[in-house]
Symmetry: none
DNA sequence: CCTTTTGACCTTCTCTGACCTTTGTTTTAA
DNA sequence: TTAAAACAAAGGTCAGAGAAGGTCAAAAGG
């Protein structure tokens, strides 16, 4: 008998297959009800089977009308993201490193000029204004958020500019 | 299943769309009757979905012949917004306030969809990860950087999307 | 041992009801 | 007659209940 985590994984992946946008939305409690398990089991499935490295982004919202959304990232961008970023990008990113990366992304057509300027300003030490170990850690977190987001969206529009 | 607050929000925004002046007037009790909820639920909708940052002004009058009026405000100048963030918000900007502003800027064509998503993620508490007075101050600084930057660049490209 | 499963406790967002304030209308007492 | 009082008809506030989802450590499997 396949374990529950595998059953739920298969179920969610089949839902993702059927959805043409590669995005599904579900209720954590409802899903737990279907599989007769405790709700936090769903979180276990999500974190072990739908992680970033495995090519998924998970977003959620609490409260009444809450949901869990699973986004299957396009394959090229996840490869790129993984090889290029998650491995190389450390816990701390100095300003010049961030600027280099952003410039590179711009040259690759992953960022518009305006996005590039915006990020330069936002990641500048004068904006962050934290003391030094913490500042570079924050910059790393911000950069990760950026990379994850731009890997989700089709970049063909961006390149056209 | 969309929550009631979302249903009422959609309803009111569609009324605002249909009105050519961007102003609607309603009876709180009547509206509560339509949606079969308690009247104070309407206040919840108004305060979470029609705030000043989101570009709405709400006026009301009590007593017989009372009413609630919702006015969709024109976008103030970026300079004004900048000062709004700088002064009115005491240098601290909560996440929901930031999201309201960004949504507003997007609706007005000042930000692309991708920039909007990017900023949501960057300004999210899970990304900033600081303790609370400092987190909201950082968010204010980031937001000011954004406002300064988008006020510099011609937005005609943006609007075309 | 490593993976899975569970349950207790937490955070966020929404919804409700009791109680309050303001405004307009009607009744009452001097 | 008329000013005060009472009533009625709005809308406002706020604390607490309810409805999601999240975290973490301990127990259970394999």
């Amino acid at each position: 008998m396949s374990s529950m985590v595998n059953q739920i994984e298969r179920y969610l992946k089949s839902l993702l297959e059927d959805s043409d946008k590669g995005v599904i939305e579900l209720q954590r409690n409802e899903l737990a009800g279907i599989f007769k398990c405790v709700p936090s089991q769903i979180n276990y499935v999500l974190s072990t089977r739908f992680s970033l490295q495995q090519g998924y982004a998970v977003e959620s919202r609490r409260g009444g009308g809450g949901y869990v959304r699973i986004v299957k990232l396009p394959l090229p961008s996840i490869e790129w993201l993984y090889n290029f970023v998650l491995e190389n990008l450390e816990n701390e990113v100095a300003q010049n490193v961030a600027e280099g990366l952003i410039q590179r992304l711009h040259e690759e057509g992953m960022l518009t000029s305006r996005e590039t300027q915006l990020l330069y300003k936002m990641l500048h030490r004068d904006t962050l204004q934290l003391e030094l170990p913490e500042r570079d850690r924050l910059r790393a977190r911000l950069l990760r958020a950026v990379l994850l987001e731009i890997s989700k969206v089709d970049t063909s529009e961006t390149r056209r500019q």
